[in-house]
């Protein structure tokens, strides 16, 4: 990669930034006065970024207190403070799961968030980094999900373990883990069918897949939740339910190349302490980038 990764992230987040900055600039454009109207519009802008009412209320309350204490009357200074607040919310004991090798990674999420595409991008990244990668195609439910992953496996040039549609996904996961063990793969990425976190039956099925993977894998097992950046406050419930059902280690935030602001990840970080490990910023294979809380916060508030 010629451009440093943080620049690429910033590029991906440009639209996000422009949108929110657009709103925040209006705030700045109000003049430097920090009055009641300023706070109200700031709250609207942050809620418009999907950060959620409780997170926004708490952050702005804290900001108000700091602004009063430090006698900040300048809106620019307040926005600087806001950036720090958000970065702080996001700066968690992160630790990239892909520092581990060998490792088995189970990829889960609701329907349509981009699990299969994310797996292709991850496989590509890890392959470039010199790891041997095996894919487990355990989405045996969605029509042509396996064909989709097969195409990606071919493009990236990594082997894939699959069975016919309708097969027991836990059995596919089992096959993949066994092959990884026998042939000594560095990374095994297991794709699963999208499911709504409210379906008890399907969450039970996923917990079973997870149990089998954890029982059979010699390598440590990590679970990544793939979340669409356009997701609203429902994202918090999604993260909580998946975490409760099988334990989640990190989040991949996809489709950040649209106008969605992905602010829900701030709320998720606050409530569940789940780190964001990658962000998806485009359709190309190398459009999956590491996540940096500081950059993300700066991109959000335009304080860079």
């Amino acid at each position: 990669m010629n451009t440093p990764w943080y620049k690429r992230v910033a590029e991906g987040l440009t639209r996000t930034r422009e949108e929110l900055t657009g709103q925040l600039n209006v705030l700045v454009g109000r003049g430097p006065d920090v009055d009641e109207g300023f706070w109200e519009e700031l709250e609207d802008a942050l809620i418009g970024a999907d950060m959620g009412v409780p997170a926004v209320t708490e952050i702005t309350d804290r900001l108000r207190a700091s602004a009063a204490r430090e006698r900040l009357t300048d809106s620019h200074a307040v926005l600087e403070l806001l950036t720090d607040e958000i970065a702080e919310e996001l700066a968690l004991a992160s630790g990239d799961v892909f520092e581990l090798s060998p490792v088995t990674v189970l990829v889960v999420g609701v329907n349509g968030t981009g699990k299969t595409t994310t797996i292709a991008k991850l496989a590509n990244e890890l392959q470039v980094r010199g790891r041997s990668v095996l894919l487990g195609s355990a989405d045996t439910y969605r029509a042509a999900a396996d064909e989709q992953l097969q195409v990606w496996a071919g493009r990236v040039g990594v082997p894939i373990v699959s069975r016919e549609r309708g097969a027991d996904p836990a059995a596919v996961a089992f096959d993949a883990i066994r092959r990884a063990r026998e042939e000594d793969f560095d990374v095994t990425l297991v794709d699963t069918a999208g499911r709504l976190h409210t379906s008890r039956e399907l969450m039970g099925e996923l917990a079973k897949i997870s149990r089998i993977v954890k029982r059979e894998s010699l390598a440590p097992v990590r679970t990544l939740l793939v979340m669409d950046a356009t997701t609203g406050q429902n994202g918090i419930t999604q993260a909580r339910q998946f975490d409760q059902a099988l334990g989640v280690d990190g989040i991949v935030l996809t489709k950040l190349d649209g106008t969605a602001k992905g602010g829900v990840c701030v709320a998720i970080a606050r409530e569940l302490g789940l780190p964001i490990v990658r962000v998806g910023v485009g359709e190309a294979l190398d459009d999956l980038k590491p996540f940096d809380p500081g950059d993300f916060a700066r991109a959000l508030t335009g304080a860079a």
Binding site: D50, V110, A144, Q233
Partner: protein, 447 residues
Amino acid sequence: MFDNLSDRLQGVMKKLTGRGRLSEAAVDAAMREVRLALREADVNFRVVKDFVARVRERAVGSDVMSSLTPGQAVVRVVHEELADLMGSTDSRLVLSSRMPAVVMLVGLQGSGKTTAAAKLANHLRKEGRRPLLIACDVYRPAAVDQLQTLGKELDIPVYAGEPGGDPVGIAQAGVKEAVGAARDVAIVDTAGRLHVDDALMDEARRIRDAVRPDQLLLVVDAMTGQDAVGVAEAFQERVDFDGVIITKLDGDARGGAALSVRAVTGKPIKFAGVGEKLDALEVFHPDRMARRILGMGDVLTLIEKAEEVFEEEQAEELEEKLKKSQFTLDDFLVQLGQLKKMGSMEQVLSMMPGAGGKALKGADVDEGALTRTEAIIQSMTLQERAKPSVINGSRRERIATGAGVSVYDVNQLLKQFAQVKKMLKQFATPGKKGRRMPRMPGGELPF
């Protein structure tokens, strides 16, 4: 569906209806909570502002304040405004009589276009149409395979062009194919696209101009947040659309996206996707949905669903049996099967007045109970099903083993069946105790 919003609003409304008089301050307090409830449900903040302002204006108006039950009057205002927000008219799909009528679907990646296309084809076939599916997503790997597989499952033909072909050409050829194959409606599935992707938005417009759809529908994920408004506005400006299919509404998404899209673009929500199965597509009725959100029940949809699965002949036969008190465990089994066809118990219950709300929250409707009951009955001999009185201790044990349940479960079922039968007897012989529906023993469901 809309669960959290529904909970919150019902709470606010309850506080209001408990009062004989309503001060302006009380209305203001309620409106603050309504505003919060809508914001937390991902309704766009601009839409929330307008909505609350309208409700408040009407709520402090003279009609409401002078009403004998002002609380009820406010609830009515909220209901009306909510229905209005979701589209005040019934939003059926209007197709022209040309051959074929064309429906085109557009939307972001992962919103559920392909599944919605298949569900829509299935729905239209039920209405007596002969649909053809056209696969124009040449970008996502295996997207065409996906539609073909779904088509095969439904036994509905799918037209797919060459891989890597031109989507505009494929759409045109598909429509031509529909004419040749005497299919009277063509459903065009397109690739997912970001609303900021100029090239792909342009392509969508070219497909539209080529096939001139009767209905161009935007597919929106119910879980979308504030961005839904920006997306819908961009699609409206660049391609324009006639209505919305809201997908994944069977989760606990608060559905604010749906409300916002309709409010900002003025385009009605036509259908809602409510499950993984290919028949899980509901025609969207704004008024009924508003009633569900406010916990007022949606009996109309329930009746329609029942009509869809219960066959008339069977129903008549059953009525006859009920009159003669000949209702057997076998009949019960048939009933259970039909009940299952109506959707999950949770879905069915959410349509009942009062039932969808707090009363059953956390009651954990046990979907497995139905299946267990079926297993128990299926483990009985025909004689046992017709005449449960012959079931003695050893038979009970055999049945329990066969069904993989405990003898206790078998006993429970037999006891409940006896109670149901007794209840039905009362029901079938009016005059004796009046026509009043007797209370279900123990308040339990009969299974």
